[in-house]
C-alpha cells in the first residue's frame, strides 16, 4: 500500500469516527452519547474574540411575548421590537 493510500484510509477512518460521534452526540441519552457531545462541543469551541459566528442580533435575541404575538396576529397591536 502506498503512502497516499494509507493517508486516504486514515482520513476515511477519521471521517467515520466523526459521523459516529455526531450520531451519538445528537442522541444525547447515554453516558457515551453525552461524552461525545461534550467532546464535540469542546472541539468546536472558538475563542470569543476569534468567533466569526458571534452576532449581536442573534446573541441578544430575547424572543417574543406569547400574549403580544397573539395581539399582533389579531391586528390589535404592533410589536415595535423584540
Amino acid at each position: 500500500m502506498t503512502r497516499e493510500q494509507k493517508d486516504i484510509r486514515k482520513k476515511q477512518r477519521s471521517a467515520r469516527l466523526q459521523i459516529w460521534m455526531a450520531a451519538r452526540s445528537s442522541r444525547n441519552k447515554t453516558f457515551l452519547d453525552r461524552l461525545c457531545r461534550m467532546m464535540i462541543t469542546k472541539a468546536t469551541s472558538v475563542d470569543p474574540e476569534k468567533d466569526f459566528m458571534r452576532d449581536d442580533f442573534i446573541d441578544n435575541d430575547q424572543g417574543f411575548d406569547p400574549d403580544e404575538l397573539d395581539r399582533y396576529q389579531r391586528g390589535e397591536k404592533v410589536i415595535v421590537g423584540q
Binding site: I8, K11, Q12, S14, A15, R16, Q18, I19, M21, A22, A23, S25, S26, R27, N28, K29, R34, R37, M38, M39, I40, T41, K42, A43, T44, V46, K50, F52, M53, D55, F57, I58, D61, Q62, G63, F64, D65, P66, D67, L69, D70, Y72, Q73, R74, G75, V78, I79, G81, Q82
Partner: protein, 762 residues
C-alpha cells in the same frame, strides 16, 4: 446541514460541557428552520402554545447555524396579514377581490374544473410550480399525483438553482456530489458569497475550514466579503465562469497536475477534452474573463496541488448562457484532479437506505413514456427533462439501487420558459391549469411579462400560500398554508446527501392553514384518486417512510434529530459510476445522443448594443430576505427598506446618477426602479439589481401587483435564444445588457426609522 467537524484529541481531553438550562413555562422543540432553503437545525421555545423564540441548536454539530430570518420567524408568521382561510376570486382575474370559502367548497370546485380542463386538453394541460423545500411536506406527493394524472409539466426555481446543477452533474459521474468541508484543503467559490446571515451553515463551514488552514479561492466580479477573505480573488467578468475553468484546465493539463491514475482508469474522453482545452490558451482566457493570466495560472495550481479541494455548488454558474458547460467543467476539474468521492473532496453520498426517498414516492414509472416525451422543453432544451435524464435509469439502478433519482428535485423538470409560453398560448399545446405552492412564479423566473400573460390566459389558477404575493393576486383560489413552526418535518437533504433529519411540530397552525401534505391529499381526493395518497396523517406518512429504521417517526424524533448513513468512499471501485459507460464521462455520451456538443464549450456574448452599454446581474440574496419573501416583516424591512441598485462611482457618474437617487434600470424587455447605492466593491460597468422585490403594503391587483411592476427584477431577465443556455433552456442572469438612467417621477419613499445598510460588498 450537518458537517462533522474535525477535532484535536487534546482538545477532547480538556473538554468541558454544560447543558443549556431550561426556563420555567418554556418547552423546547428541535426543529428545522424553513425561513430559507438551507434548513438549519434550530430550537423552538414554546410558551402558551405558541413559538416565542427560535434559537441555535443545542447540538454542537449544528451550533450557531441560525440567522436573522430564523430569529424573526415567530413574528413574521404571526403577521396579521397572513392568509388563514381559503379564498376564492370574485372579481376579474387580477382584480385582487376574494371571498372566504371552506376547504371543501374550494377543493370540490378545483377538482371539477381541473377534470374538465384535462378532458378537453389532455393531462399535460396542467402545470405545477413549486420547490419542494419551500413547501417542505410535499415530499414528492405533487409529482406523484401529476404522474398518476398524466402531466409531466412540473417546474421549479431549482431549474436555475441547484436542481439543474444536479441534473448536469449526472452527465459526468451520475450523481451530484457535496463537498466535504470538514477536511478539505481548498475551497473554490464561484461567485457565491455565503455570509453570517445568508447561507449561514456554509459560511460557518468555510470560515471553520479557513481557521484550520484551508485555502480559499474566490471568483467574483465584486469585491465580496468572501473575496476579501480569500487567498486568491479572481475578479472575472460576470458570466465568464466557463472560460475561467477552461483556463484552469489548460494549466492543470499542460503542467500535468492532474491525477493520472484516476484519469487513466476511471475516465473516458480525456484526449478529446485536451484538444478542446487547447482552444483556450491563457491569453484568450484572460481576454474572455478580464483576469490576469498569471493569477489564473496560480489559482489553478493551488486548486490542483493543495487537494483534496472542493468546488461547492454555486447558484452563479447555474444561471448563465454557458451553464451546462460551466457545470460540466466543474465536474471535470473535480474528476481529473482525483477529488471525487474521497475524504476532503466531493462526496457521492447516494440514498439513505433506511428511508423511503422522495424519488420513490414520486412514482415516475407510472407516467407513460408518451406523456414523458410531451414534457415542455424536451425537444429543444432536454438536459433536465425526462428526455435528457431517462438514460440514467439503468446506471442509477446499478449503482444506487433504483431507476429514478430526482436529485434536488431537478432531474425530471419541464423547462420554465417553454411552460409559460404554452400557458400563454404560444407553445406546442395549451396549458390551462396552473397550481403553485410556496412559490411566487410571476417573479421567480425570467420574463415576467410573458409569465403575466401566461397566468392571465389560464382557466384555473390555484395557489397554496401564507401571504398575498403578486402571483397569488392572480389566482382563482388561494389556500392557506401552514409553516415550519406548525407541523413535523422529515428532511432528506433534497435527495442530495444521505443524512436524514427530523423536525418537531411546535404549535398548531392558525385558522385553517394546512400543510402541503394535506393539500395534495385533498387534491388526490378531488381527482377521484384518494388511493394515491393513502396515509391519513402526515405522521402516518412519515411512519411509512422511516419503517426501514425499525422505528416509528415518533420514536425516532424523540431519540435524535439526525439519522446518518455510514460514510463510504470510492464506492465506484465496486459499482462503477452511474453513467452509461460506468466511468467519469469527460466527453458525455448522453449529451452527444441528445444532439449536443459532448464536450464543454464557451459561447461568447452577442455583439455589444450601444443603447445598453452596461451589464447587470441579479439573483443575490439580501440578508433580511429569502427570494421574494420576508418583506412584510418590519424588522427586516428596516434593514433594507427599498430595493438598492449598486454601481461604482465611475459608472454612476457616467450614467449621470448619484448615491441616493431613484434610478431606472432598463433593457429591451422592461425596467425596474430602485435607489442607487454607490459601492467601490463593484467593477466598472456592472450593475447589481436586487432580486425578488415587491412591497406587500402597496396596492394589490393587476395595476400594481403590490409593486411587482415597479421593482421585480424578473422584468429584466430575458429568455430569448441568445440569453438561454442551449442544453437546459435556462436564462443568462449574470451579464444582461442594460442601462441605468435617472428615474423621472420621484417616489416618496422614506426609509424606515433605524434602517441599516447591508455590508458594502454584497
Amino acid at each position: 446541514m450537518p458537517a462533522p467537524v474535525p477535532f484535536d484529541p487534546q482538545e477532547i481531553v480538556d473538554a468541558k460541557y454544560e447543558e443549556r438550562p431550561t426556563r420555567e413555562g418554556v418547552t423546547t422543540k428541535r426543529m428545522i428552520c424553513a425561513a430559507c432553503d438551507i434548513a438549519c437545525s434550530v430550537v423552538g421555545e414554546v410558551q402558551k402554545g405558541r413559538v416565542t423564540k427560535i434559537r441555535s441548536s443545542d447540538n454542537p454539530i449544528f451550533k450557531d447555524n441560525i440567522c436573522m430570518k430564523g430569529i424573526i420567524a415567530p413574528k413574521g408568521l404571526a403577521h396579521p396579514n397572513r392568509i388563514l382561510y381559503p379564498l376564492k376570486r370574485v372579481g376579474e382575474r387580477g382584480s385582487g377581490k376574494f371571498e372566504q370559502v371552506t376547504w371543501e367548497e374550494a377543493m370540490g370546485d378545483i377538482g371539477g374544473r381541473l377534470k374538465k380542463i384535462i378532458a378537453e386538453h389532455g393531462p399535460e394541460a396542467w402545470a405545477v410550480s413549486t420547490s419542494q423545500w419551500n413547501t417542505s411536506t410535499d415530499h414528492g406527493l405533487g409529482r406523484r399525483i401529476m404522474n398518476h394524472v398524466g402531466s409531466p409539466n412540473w417546474i421549479s426555481g431549482v431549474a436555475l438553482c441547484a436542481g439543474n446543477t444536479a441534473a448536469v452533474n449526472r452527465f459526468t459521474y451520475g450523481w451530484f456530489p457535496f463537498g466535504d468541508f470538514s477536511s478539505t484543503n481548498c475551497i473554490v467559490l464561484m461567485g457565491h458569497n455565503p455570509r453570517r446571515h445568508s447561507w449561514t451553515p456554509l459560511y460557518n463551514y468555510i470560515r471553520s475550514a479557513q481557521a484550520r488552514g484551508a485555502k480559499l479561492i474566490v471568483m467574483d466580479p465584486r469585491r465580496s466579503s468572501s473575496a476579501e477573505r480569500a487567498d486568491i480573488w479572481l475578479p472575472l467578468k460576470a458570466g465568464s465562469d466557463a472560460a475561467m475553468m477552461f483556463g484552469w484546465l489548460k494549466v492543470i493539463i499542460d503542467e500535468e497536475l492532474y491525477d493520472k491514475e484516476f484519469v487513466a482508469n476511471w475516465t473516458i474522453g480525456f484526449e478529446e477534452l485536451k484538444e478542446r482545452v487547447n482552444e483556450f490558451p491563457l491569453d484568450r482566457v484572460a481576454k474572455l474573463t478580464g483576469c490576469d493570466p498569471e493569477m489564473i495560472a496560480e489559482a489553478a495550481r493551488v486548486y490542483a496541488t493543495s487537494g483534496p479541494s472542493i468546488i461547492p455548488w454555486t447558484p452563479i454558474t447555474d444561471m448563465q448562457r454557458n451553464s451546462t458547460s460551466g457545470i460540466r467543467l466543474q465536474t471535470i476539474l473535480r474528476s481529473i484532479c482525483g477529488y471525487v468521492d474521497v475524504p476532503g473532496g466531493e462526496l457521492l453520498q447516494g440514498f439513505n437506505p433506511d428511508i423511503v426517498n422522495e424519488s420513490t414516492i414520486e412514482m415516475h414509472h407510472v407516467l407513460s413514456d408518451e406523456q414523458k416525451m410531451k414534457q415542455l422543453g424536451s425537444k429543444d432544451h432536454p438536459a433536465f427533462t425526462y428526455r435528457g435524464q431517462l438514460a440514467f435509469r439503468e446506471p442509477t439502478k446499478r449503482v444506487y439501487g433504483q431507476e429514478y433519482a430526482n436529485l434536488v428535485t431537478g432531474c425530471h423538470m419541464a423547462t420554465p420558459s417553454e411552460t409559460f409560453r404554452a400557458m400563454a398560448g404560444e407553445g406546442e399545446y395549451p396549458v390551462k391549469a396552473f397550481f403553485f405552492l410556496g412559490n411566487n412564479p410571476l417573479m421567480s423566473y425570467a420574463n415576467m411579462p410573458l409569465i403575466h400573460k401566461a397566468m392571465m390566459n389560464q382557466d384555473l389558477i390555484v395557489s397554496h400560500e401564507q401571504f398575498m404575493t403578486p402571483s397569488a393576486q392572480l389566482a382563482d383560489y388561494i389556500l392557506p398554508a401552514d409553516s415550519w413552526l406548525e407541523r413535523p418535518w422529515l428532511h432528506d437533504m433534497f435527495g442530495w446527501m444521505s443524512t436524514i433529519r427530523f423536525s418537531e411540530k411546535a404549535m398548531d397552525p392558525p385558522g385553517e392553514c394546512k400543510s402541503t401534505f394535506e393539500f395534495w391529499k385533498q387534491v388526490a381526493g378531488a381527482m377521484d384518486m384518494p388511493e394515491v395518497v393513502p396515509w391519513e396523517t402526515i405522521e402516518d406518512f412519515y411512519d411509512y417512510r422511516v419503517a426501514g429504521t425499525g422505528k416509528s417517526f415518533a420514536e425516532l424524533i424523540s431519540e435524535t434529530e439526525v439519522h446518518f448513513k455510514k460514510p463510504a468512499y470510492k464506492t465506484y471501485e465496486k459499482t462503477g459510476f452511474a453513467t452509461p459507460s460506468g466511468k467519469v464521462e469527460l466527453k458525455s455520451s448522453l449529451l452527444e445522443e441528445l444532439g449536443f456538443d459532448p464536450l464543454p464549450y464557451f459561447r461568447e456574448d452577442p455583439p455589444h448594443d450601444k443603447d445598453y452599454p452596461l451589464k447587470m446581474f441579479t439573483g443575490v440574496r439580501e440578508d433580511p430576505f429569502f427570494q421574494t419573501g420576508h418583506r412584510h416583516i418590519p424588522e427586516m424591512r428596516a434593514r433594507c427598506p427599498e430595493p438598492q441598485i449598486y454601481l461604482n462611482e465611475k459608472t454612476a457618474k457616467a450614467a449621470g446618477v448619484a448615491e441616493g437617487d431613484w434610478v431606472s434600470v432598463e433593457n429591451q424587455l422592461g425596467r425596474v426602479k430602485g435607489i442607487l447605492a454607490v459601492k467601490d466593491a463593484m467593477p466598472d460597468d456592472l450593475v447589481r439589481v436586487p432580486h425578488g422585490w415587491w412591497k406587500p403594503e402597496m396596492e394589490q391587483g393587476n395595476g400594481s401587483l403590490s409593486g411587482a411592476w415597479d421593482y421585480s427584477d424578473a422584468q429584466l431577465c430575458r429568455d430569448d435564444p441568445d440569453y438561454l443556455d442551449l442544453e437546459q433552456g435556462i436564462p443568462h442572469l449574470k451579464g444582461i445588457p442594460c442601462r441605468v438612467v435617472p428615474f423621472v417621477a420621484q417616489v416618496s419613499a422614506e426609509p424606515a426609522a433605524g434602517a441599516q445598510h447591508m455590508e458594502p460588498a454584497e
